[in-house]
C-alpha cells in the first residue's frame, strides 16, 4: 500500500513538473508585421537579383528545462483567407520555386526562448516568378513536441506568411551603343503630355539637334511621350539626343512601357541616366541609349519621365529606335 502511495505521489509530481501552463511555441518574422516576411527581387528576362533567402527562428513564451521541437510546413489552405483579409491577390508560391534549406524541424534548447537554428527558405528559379500580383507562402507550425507536455503551438503566432515580389525590368543597366540600324520614322505618330511654345513634339523627329520637344513648365503635370509606329516592330532600344535648347532640362529617369494595341501595356522597366555631358553640344551630342535586355515586339512605346536634371521642364531633341 505504502509503495502504491509513493508511486502515485511520484507520478503526480512528475506530471506537475512536465505539464507547464500558459506555454506556447510560436514563430514570427523580424519585420514590422510579425506575421509577414517580405522578399523582394529584381527580375530581368535572363537573370534575377535581390532577396533569395529569408529566415526566421521558433520561439517559446518563456524558458523551460527541456528541449522543445517545432515542426513547420507549408499550409496552402491559408492563401485564400490571407488574400481576402488583406485585400491582396497573391498567388501560392509554387513548390518548384522554393526549398527549405534548414530542415523543417527547429529545436528550442532547454533554458532558451529561441531556436538554435532558423527556418531558412530559398527561392529557386526566380525569373520564372512572373506573376505581377506577387506570391505568398504560408508556413505554419504543424506540431510541437517536448518532454513538457504543456508546450503547445500558439494559436495566433502559428503562421509566417512569406511574401515574394519581383520587379520586372527589361531595361539594361549598361547603356552602351547598340549594334543595329535606326528604324525609319516615317509614319510615326507622336503624342506628348504637354509642350512649351515653339518646342512641340514633332521637333523630336525633325532631324535637327538644335530643336527639341520641351514639356510645359508645370511642376505638377506629368511629363510623357508616346509613339505609335503604325505597325508592330522588333525594337532593341532607343537612342535620343538630349535637349540642347536648355541642357538643364533633361531626363534622368524614364519608365518605359510597350503595347501592341494601345490598351494593354507591359512595363519594360526604368531607365536611370544623367543629363548631357558639359563638353557635349548639339553639334557633338552626348547620345543617350535606352537598351532593352531582349528586343521588344510592339507597336506602341511610351516614356514616362519620372525625374530630370532641374526645374520643372524636360525635353528631347531627337528620338530614334534601333532594330
Amino acid at each position: 500500500m505504502a509503495v502504491c502511495c509513493i508511486l502515485i505521489l511520484n507520478a503526480c509530481k512528475k506530471d506537475g513538473e512536465m505539464n507547464s501552463k500558459e506555454l506556447s511555441a510560436f514563430i514570427k518574422s523580424a519585420g514590422g508585421d510579425v506575421h509577414i516576411a517580405n522578399m523582394a527581387f529584381k527580375r530581368t528576362p535572363i537573370a534575377a537579383s535581390g532577396d533569395s533567402v529569408t529566415k526566421f527562428p521558433a520561439y517559446l513564451t518563456r524558458e523551460i528545462n527541456s528541449d522543445v521541437l517545432v515542426n513547420i510546413s507549408a499550409d496552402e489552405s491559408l492563401v485564400g483567407t490571407f488574400n481576402s483579409t488583406n485585400k491582396t491577390s497573391y498567388v501560392l508560391l509554387p513548390a518548384a520555386n522554393y526549398k527549405i534549406l534548414s530542415g523543417a524541424q527547429l529545436t528550442i534548447p532547454a533554458g532558451s526562448v529561441i531556436s538554435t537554428d532558423s527556418l531558412r527558405v530559398q527561392l529557386v528559379d526566380r525569373i520564372k516568378l512572373t506573376d505581377d500580383n506577387g506570391y505568398v507562402l504560408p508556413l505554419s507550425i504543424r506540431d510541437v513536441s517536448a518532454k513538457d507536455k504543456g508546450a503547445k503551438p500558439s494559436e495566433n503566432y502559428k503562421t509566417v506568411y512569406i511574401i515574394v515580389k519581383g520587379t520586372y525590368s527589361n531595361i539594361n543597366d549598361a547603356q552602351s551603343t547598340l549594334p543595329g540600324t535606326f528604324i525609319a520614322r516615317t509614319g510615326w505618330v507622336l503624342t506628348v503630355s504637354n509642350t512649351t511654345a515653339g518646342a512641340l513634339g514633332p521637333a523630336m523627329l525633325d532631324g535637327s539637334n538644335t530643336t527639341a520637344w520641351r514639356s510645359s513648365n508645370s511642376s505638377s503635370a506629368a511629363k510623357w511621350l508616346s509613339i505609335d509606329m503604325g505597325a508592330a516592330q522588333q525594337i532593341k532600344g532607343f537612342v535620343y539626343v538630349p535637349n540642347y535648347v536648355l541642357t538643364t532640362e533633361n531626363a534622368t529617369g524614364i519608365n518605359v512601357s510597350t503595347s501592341m494595341d494601345n490598351v494593354t501595356w507591359t512595363t519594360q522597366g526604368s531607365w536611370k541616366g544623367t543629363g548631357p555631358a558639359t563638353t557635349s553640344s548639339a553639334a557633338s551630342p552626348d547620345l543617350k541609349n535606352i537598351n532593352f535586355i531582349i528586343p521588344v515586339q510592339a507597336r506602341y512605346f511610351r516614356f514616362d519621365i519620372t525625374s530630370w536634371t532641374s526645374g520643372s521642364r524636360v525635353g528631347i531633341a531627337e528620338l530614334n529606335a534601333v532594330q
Binding site: S20, K21, E22, G32, L60, R62, V113, N156
Partner: protein, 330 residues
C-alpha cells in the same frame, strides 16, 4: 399530558421553527464580487521573457512618479500597463524607502518594466556647475557622467533619458553649437561617450541610454533609442521626415521611437492620422502601424502617458498600440 399541553408544545415548536427560519434568513452571506485581476506566475514569467526579447517597444514619460505614494490608494506607478517597456520618470524618482519606491522595484522584478531617470541638458549643466565648479569643462562632463551613473545605481533604476532640446528653449553648453534637428555638438558627444561607459549598448551593463527631442550625429553607437517628440504628426510621410531630419541621416530605424503628446491629446489617442490602409485613425495607432522605409522602427511612445488612465478600459489607446506592434501570443 392533556390536549392543552400538547397544543402548547406544538405551538411552541412551530414558533421555534419560525424563529429558526427567521434567524437563518438573516444570516450574513458572502455575495460573489468581481475579483481584482490576479495573474499567474506563468503569466509573469512569459511577460518577463517578452520584455527581454527583441520587439518594438512602448515608451512613456510618466508624471506623478516622484511622490512617496500610499498603499491605501492606487497611484500612477500601481497602474502602469504590464506591457509598457520603458518608463521615463518625468515626475522624478520616488522618495527612497517610500511605498512608490517599493512599487517601482516590484514592477521591475515582476514585470521586467524598465525605469529611467530623466533630465534636461540644462539640468546636467547645472549639476556640473554645482558639483564640479572648479573643474575645467571636458573633465567636468566626465565627472558628472560618473555621478549620474552612481545616482541611477543608488536608486535601482535602469538608465538615463536626456531631454535634449537646445533649439527649442533649453539652452546650455549641450547643443549650443546649433542645429534645429540633429546637432553635431562636441559637449553632447563628450557627455554620451562618458555615459556610455556605464549605460547604453557600449557599456555591457544592460542599462539604457536614451536621448529624446533632438539628436546628435556623433552619438549613434552610444544610445539605445531616440525618443522623438513627433507630437501631432498626422501621416506616415511626416514620421519618415522626422526620422530623416532628427536622425541626421545616421540614425538606424531600430533606434527611432516617435512619440505622441498625451498631455493634450490623451482623450483622442492623438491627432487624426492618415493611414494608407485604414484612412483616418488616432495618431498613436498610426505611429504603431507605421514602419520606416529603411526597416523596422524601435517602437513608439507617449508624453504624459499616465493621462490616459481614465479611459475605459484604462490606457485603451496605449494597449491597442502595443497589441498592433506585438500582438500577445496566445
Amino acid at each position: 399530558m392533556n390536549i392543552n399541553k400538547l397544543l402548547t408544545i406544538a405551538g411552541m415548536a412551530v414558533i421555534s421553527i419560525f424563529s429558526f427560519s427567521c434567524t437563518k434568513q438573516n444570516m450574513p452571506e458572502n455575495i460573489p464580487m468581481k475579483q481584482v485581476l490576479q495573474r499567474s506566475d506563468e503569466y509573469y514569467a512569459n511577460l518577463r521573457a517578452y520584455k527581454k526579447s527583441k520587439h518594438q517597444i512602448f515608451f512613456g514619460w510618466f508624471g506623478g512618479t516622484g511622490g512617496a505614494g500610499n498603499p491605501n490608494s492606487s497611484g500612477v506607478l500601481d497602474q502602469i500597463p504590464d506591457s509598457v517597456d520603458i518608463v521615463s520618470l518625468w515626475g522624478g524618482y520616488p522618495i527612497p524607502g517610500s511605498y512608490n519606491a517599493a512599487v517601482l522595484q516590484k514592477t521591475r522584478e515582476l514585470k521586467g518594466t524598465k525605469f529611467v531617470w530623466c533630465m534636461f541638458g540644462s539640468g546636467v549643466a547645472n549639476l556640473m556647475a554645482k558639483n564640479f565648479p572648479n573643474v575645467p569643462l571636458p573633465e567636468s562632463i566626465d565627472l558628472v557622467a560618473k555621478s549620474m551613473a552612481d545616482t541611477i545605481s543608488k536608486h535601482g533604476l535602469d538608465g538615463f533619458d536626456l531631454d535634449y532640446e537646445p533649439a527649442y528653449g533649453d539652452r546650455s553648453i549641450f547643443g549650443d553649437s546649433g542645429g534645429s534637428f540633429a546637432t553635431n555638438d562636441p559637449e553632447t558627444q563628450r557627455l554620451f561617450k562618458a555615459l556610455s561607459q556605464y549605460l547604453g549598448p557600449m557599456s555591457g551593463t544592460g542599462k539604457l541610454l536614451i536621448i529624446d527631442g533632438q539628436f546628435d550625429v556623433g552619438i549613434v553607437p552610444y544610445v539605445d533609442y531616440l525618443m522623438q517628440q513627433a507630437y501631432g504628426a498626422s501621416s506616415p510621410s511626416l514620421l519618415q521626415g522626422r526620422l530623416r531630419d532628427f536622425g541626421g541621416g545616421v540614425l538606424p530605424p531600430e533606434k527611432f521611437v516617435p512619440c505622441e503628446d498625451f498631455e493634450t491629446k490623451w482623450d483622442t489617442g492623438g491627432v487624426n492620422f492618415a493611414d494608407p490602409l485604414l484612412g483616418t485613425i488616432p495618431s498613436l495607432i498610426g505611429f504603431a502601424r507605421w514602419q520606416p522605409t529603411q526597416g523596422r522602427k524601435g517602437g513608439i511612445g507617449a508624453y504624459h502617458a499616465e493621462y490616459e488612465y481614465p479611459h475605459n478600459p484604462d490606457y485603451k489607446f496605449i494597449r491597442q498600440a502595443i497589441q498592433i506592434m506585438n500582438p500577445a501570443v496566445r
